[in-house]
Symmetry: C2
Subunit: 284 residues, 2 copies
Amino acid sequence: MHPRRLSILGVGLLGGSIGLAARSRLTGFHIVGYAHRPETLEAARSMEAIQQGYDQPGPAVRGADLIILCTPVGVLPKVLHEIAGELPHGAIVTDVGSTKRTIVDAARAVLPPHVRFVGSHPMAGSEKRGVQFARGDLFDGATCITTPTSETDPDALQTVEDFWRAIGMKPTRLSPEEHDRILADVSHLPHALAAALVAMQDDAAMPLCGKGFLDATRIAAGDGGLWKDILIDNGDNVRASIKRIMSELTRLDGFLAAADAQNLEKWLHEAALRRQLAGEMKKQ
Amino acid sequence: MHPRRLSILGVGLLGGSIGLAARSRLTGFHIVGYAHRPETLEAARSMEAIQQGYDQPGPAVRGADLIILCTPVGVLPKVLHEIAGELPHGAIVTDVGSTKRTIVDAARAVLPPHVRFVGSHPMAGSEKRGVQFARGDLFDGATCITTPTSETDPDALQTVEDFWRAIGMKPTRLSPEEHDRILADVSHLPHALAAALVAMQDDAAMPLCGKGFLDATRIAAGDGGLWKDILIDNGDNVRASIKRIMSELTRLDGFLAAADAQNLEKWLHEAALRRQLAGEMKKQ
């Protein structure tokens, strides 16, 4: 199935970038969008990320066959409630949220049976926020995780993955549970850790932070409100990740307490090799 | 005093970059260097980072009036012993080590009274290693911490700071103790944390790490042997820093356990503001 009317709910950095990418790479699409603030809608229209704007989610989904939820994770369930009664028969709904169990459960509970939901997480973004930072090439080469369950319609999954592929991403599948567990380790914990590293600094030390510190903490400059939602929503997994990094730090502390140069070097060397490998994999 | 003969002991990434920067910005300097491996010396000579090479530290310092120790932190005291009997009267010795208490103490204990030592830490570098990555602009705009004590000769301090300034850096002064305490927080802990973040990942998670993870862990790709020396040498301070970040993580865990969205957002928001500010300061 090739969708004809695309509805983007929340035209911020991600939603706006989806609109720009879809307009430049797909034809025969009418792209509409919803945003709460009139300035956002106006900006999205004037940069041609959307062709038509709505200040309510309900009207924005009427007649749409592909709806992409791009609002912050914390308000996704509320938006689902607002559109549930307006969705056309056979519409496919997906999202771009950084956590997946809650939205998949909410879609199952809230959406009517004539609508098909597929959870998605495009692994692209920025520490910046707002449609003014949207870019049509934001998704180029990025991984997009879809989270089908036993109830997911295979055709809807195919349509959603084809769409992500068309705007430049490589789709891969995980269950919502696996997604949330793995993302706690590779994304949510790194964010929390970067924030903790900034939070623990003395004011007097900040002028002495170098490039290494700035690289390591770049993600901590991201929007606190968005990340609060993500960390709370995935709290159980993030807490398990915190526990594991603390035991890793306790291990390091043991090497230092014993001045155990041999095991410390082995530990650092293995981490360096794994990090170099991860960097190489991303370049391919 | 304007030095005439510069001796760089250890022509790797930092030593080679000092040679290149000095050659392009200072005149009337004869630059010599020591390296253990003949290939390194040959590479340093052919890229004109040094004009003359030695495979022993002793001969490399004969006749030199400014000597810069650029070997890994772990072998600095050994190199001091090797050059102590060869240093000309009035020579000034400095270094580029990432820790300062040990080298300042070793210089006091090992160097003869007719030689003046000033501890330095140019805050520039790379996760790469080797003279082939040396660049004449590596130090542009970087901070260089000098660590004078009550025994430091003011003229020698001035000469060393003038040299760092001439190759592009902004000198600033700290005691060796302050230096090691602050650098544990802004540099050594971030490195250890990045390594711990890589070490704790499951193999299955690594292909899903995104740009945020790669930025946050870039420093962990650095040389394990060099960092082992730094972390062990500054072990007491690094252990105190580990303790503080663990208490920050315990605080975060408390917010998540209580689903305390308000305090979590405040904590994240403050970290984001501090990080943004640090980034702005560096741009100036």
